[in-house]
Amino acid sequence: MDFRKRYYSKKNDKKKGIDPAFLLDAKFEAGNELVVLFGRSGSGKTTALQCISGLLEPNGGKIIVNGDIYFDCHKRIDLPVQQRSLGYVFQNYAIFPHMDVKKNIAYGLKGWKPEDKEKRVAEMLQMLQIEGLENNYPSQLSGGQKQRVALARALAPKPDILLLDEPFSALDMVVRMKLREKIKEIQRELGIPILFITHNHVEAFTIADKIIIFHDGRVQQTGTPEEVFYNPKNKHVAELVGLTNIFEDTVIEDKNEASGILKLKCGNLELYADIPDSKLKEKVTWGIRPENLRILPLDESEKNQDNTIPATVKSIVNKGASKVLALKIAEHRNLLIAELANQFFEDFDIKVGDECLVKIVKGKIVIF
Amino acid sequence: ADTNTAADMDTEKTEVTTITVSAAASLTEAFTELETAFEEENPDIDVNYNFAGSGTLRMQIEGGAPIDVFASASQNHMNILSDQSLIGEDSRKDFASNTVVLITPVDSELDITGPEDLTSENVGTVCIGNPETAPVGKYTVEALTEAGLWEELESKTLLAEDVKQVLVYVERGEVDAGFVYSTDAATSKPGTIEIKTTVPTVTPISYPIALLDASENKEAAQTFIDFVTSDKGRTILESYGFTA
């Protein structure tokens, strides 16, 4: 897949040669796997799905799914939506308001025998836990129920490719977990490509075979969840995957064994990091995930260890299973954010205002 | 220049009375010319016409429309008003008459010279006015009945709501023959119809005119009626094909 789509804010802008308001330039591969499209709101994920589905005509490039050319700008191919055998869950569901749940779900089952239809609908109802609602009209459904009807409708005809635009956004965790499993199962069973948009980190990480990061209409990085989450390529990706501690510093020492030394800008602190290839005196952006920071008691013996710096606790927020600490480092403007399992606090009682040591684990530092 | 100043002085002196005359549509052109002559003679009276089918005019009057004079194309409508005492009986006069003619399309291949030829099998549809709504139809049916042709012809007749409709059908060759007023035949598109004969009617076709009871300008209205029935008025009407 490699296509472009331009949006203009006014119709005439195109003719007038005004720059488009938004330009999507998407280039990625997706095999028969579950691909998560991940990106900021407004980065072009929905637009990408719409181009693939054929609901939007790209301005250029080509879209090939499993060898079938869906769209090719040069060969002037533009397969009609109907022939693409899609299952598409729209971000706003778009379930038919004049049909009840049953009819909505059965709508894609064209040419099926009535009893097969019946069976398939029942299967879907059960899978999505909306049994008992089959005769409700959309106006009689809750938000999450609507979303599940949209999912059921898209899944029912066993399509050749699934495009899911934030399909679980309105669902509670219990259904959501079950459905994540189901979607993975369906992917394995049917061996089809599934493109999945989500804003949920855990969802992206657990469900994806591959994650594609969008930013401002451009693909920034592609890779397995581990690659993308643990080794973001640039600042945008890093921010997106929750690598909250991002700094910019200068390399002050270059080691032979292909690792360098970074010096924190506003201080006299020196940090060691593994950098594949960096140049002396070069400015680099580096970061570390909050859960990769270690907190130690203010113990003089540890103080002089590599990458261990004193800090003051500015705030502690309980997230349920873990706590997030904001740490002020001496002479540094930005706060360091650390996340630690609640269990940790059982052994180590720390409160706002306390002083402690932060260890920035060398191997976990990411350089962009 | 003299008349001008006289007229100017007149308008200053006497107030102009406006009268509304409801006149049958077939009188449109004749009455329009009549107005000029009348107003020249009576500068203190301004005539407004209201032209429509006699039936429509009658219904307007029944409904209480502010009309001063009614000039109908049929006695029937005048009679209906008379029955309801809506007209001034004394003022009712016949002021013009008309004749019914038999017309055919100009390119008609049928040999039609008179109403009796219409019974021939070759003749398809014959168009006449609806006797209930168009006076011409009533006269036609009477005439045909009198000639003993009506029973035979009834099945091939097509009723038109007004004379114009008959004329259109004949002009376009949609029917084989039709009966219209001679005055209407004169207004047809040149070279489209042929007048075959004048049909003698049982009752003479006379146009009645009358003053309306509800009129608030009875005097001026009477002046108008007098003018229409005067020699001057008659001459103008005759120039449009009406017979006196």
Binding site: S53, G54, L55, P80, V81, Q82, R84, S85, L86, G87, Y88, F90, N92, A94, I95, F96, P97, H98, M99, Y107, G108, K110, R153, A154, P157 | G53, G55, T56, R58, M59, N76, H77, I80, T125, C127, N130, E132, T133, L158, L159, A160, E161, Q165, V168, Y169, R172, G173, E174
Partner: protein, 222 residues
């Protein structure tokens, strides 16, 4: 008297129902195209469709006579092929009713279809449904309030149609005298009693038919 009422009633219903049926069908098709397609000359189509509305019915009728008469373009063709003249038959009245009520149907339905969110159509496309199926089962049902309004207006107009009908169908007692024409005749003849009776029957008939249509269209959820 029964005869004076019975026949006009039957023929009027027949004409109105048939013409409304045809108007609804063609109207929906035209409206769909106008609402969902872009083509050069769209404005022309739009104008042609609205035109019969601004012309006095008699003029429309006259134009139809010119078109459908023995010597008219269409009428001549029809006559040469079938030997049949449509003028002065009740079928001509259907055509007249069709022409005068089509604008009502098209304007109303086009607006209704344009107001349907395209998202639903797209959803149907992704489910493998062709445009025709989508139009039938998604777009039109969603536009049904407007379509119903169009049908009711068209039906009422067909029932009340008078000027153009008179021109093309004439008034052949026992063949083409519709309610409207009969009412007109009765009024013109000063037969107010009959006229009033006919008006009442016409009104009752229209209301009944409209109520039935409303029921039918509103239940159209497919």
């Amino acid at each position: 008297m029964l005869d004076q009422i019975g026949f006009p009633l039957v023929i009027t219903l027949r004409i109105a129902v048939l013409s409304t049926f045809v108007v609804a069908l063609t109207g929906i098709i035209i409206s769909y195209i106008l609402a969902r397609r872009d083509f050069t000359g769209k404005w022309l189509a739009d104008i042609l469709v609205t035109l019969p509305l601004v012309l006095p019915p008699t003029v429309t009728g006259y134009l139809l006579v010119i078109l459908l008469g023995k010597n008219g373009v269409l009428g001549n063709l029809l006559y040469n092929i079938t030997g049949w003249t449509i003028l002065f038959t009740w079928e001509a009245a259907v055509i007249a009713a069709f022409v005068v009520s089509l604008p009502l149907m098209v304007k109303t339905t086009t607006a209704a279809i344009e107001s349907v969110d395209r998202e639903y159509e797209y959803a149907a496309f992704t489910l493998g449904r062709k445009e025709l199926e989508t139009a039938l089962f998604i777009t039109l049902p969603l536009a049904r309030k407007g379509i119903l309004a169009g049908i009711v207006l068209s039906f009422a107009r067909a029932v009340g149609e008078f000027g153009a009908t008179l021109m093309v169908a004439g008034n052949i007692p026992g063949r083409t005298n519709t309610m409207s024409i009969s009412i007109y005749s009765a009024f013109q003849a000063g037969n107010n009693e009959l006229a009033n009776m006919l008006v009442i029957i016409l009104v009752i008939m229209s209301l009944l038919s409209m109520a039935i249509t409303a029921k039918l269209v509103n239940s159209w959820k497919i």
